[in-house]
Symmetry: C2
Subunit: 139 residues, 2 copies
DNA sequence: CTGTATCCTTGGAGATACTG
DNA sequence: CAGTATCTCCAAGGATACAG
């Protein structure tokens, strides 16, 4: 009964629930869906157009997972042709703030990341003996 | 010259730099590495033990990408046996706050997500006619 | 319009062995 | 200790066609 009741607290543990929850948003499309739905309800086709590069298959799949985890609500209007609207649930709304922080971070550090990349990519072309030596001395 | 200079601003654009930057942390392991390095410098083997479930290969790969993007610094001490230390760069440090917000969110909504899942998983076993009808009336 | 079903390809990732 | 190299395999995901 008490074998594996609470693996809650340690996010570094593989079977930890908190890790699973963290990784709800740790994929390619979920953050973009959240950003898209911040403005309010959207239909499937609207999301498909808004999120450039996503396929119908991946959008469906992403939305299903998000729905399962309680982040989005899916409302079907049985008319022809079908109308399906997606929106953030109250739980999903609570993600807006942390997600927004991440987006702001991304916008604010474009240059630094780009610069780090070119620096790194050029490093392999050059000798780095001096740098290694310097770093060793730090110890 | 001015063909594709600035695809900066729109994160919904596939080739947008901001999207790439956002997705630096949108994978399974990067957030955990950041959390692990918040406490300070760690060696390769320490990270491997701390982050349960990660393989040597994935840890190496994750660290290399993070290093390339300027999030972590890798310092090699040319001794035998080798010592390699990883730490967050100043740029990586700026990610701590938004990442911490995400972790707090995860911890704070374990129950809700778990509950949403069981509800969703049980839904397919039952008729849902009433709910659909209700939702339709909302329009 | 909003999907599902199927096929098919690619590469992501584990396992294992080897190296400085 | 901290990786790299190689092999292998499964599954993520694109393309396409079809359905309600």
């Amino acid at each position: 009964m008490e074998t594996k009741e609470k693996s809650y607290p340690d996010i570094f543990q593989a079977d930890c629930l908190s890790r699973q929850v963290l990784q709800l948003v740790a994929d390619q499309w979920t953050p973009l869906v959240i950003y898209a739905l911040e403005g309010g309800t959207m239909r499937f086709g609207q999301l498909l157009k808004r999120i450039d590069g996503i396929s119908k298959k991946m959008l469906t799949q992403t939305l299903r997972v998000m729905e399962r985890n309680g982040l989005v609500q899916r409302v079907v209007y049985p008319v022809v042709p079908p109308v399906v609207e997606y929106s953030l649930t109250p739980l999903g709304q609570t993600l807006r703030e942390p997600m927004e922080a991440l987006r702001v971070w991304a916008y604010g550090h474009l240059q630094e990341v780009a610069h780090a990349r070119t620096t790194y990519d050029q490093r392999d072309q050059k000798p780095i003996q001096d740098e290694v030596a310097t770093l060793v001395q730090q110890r």
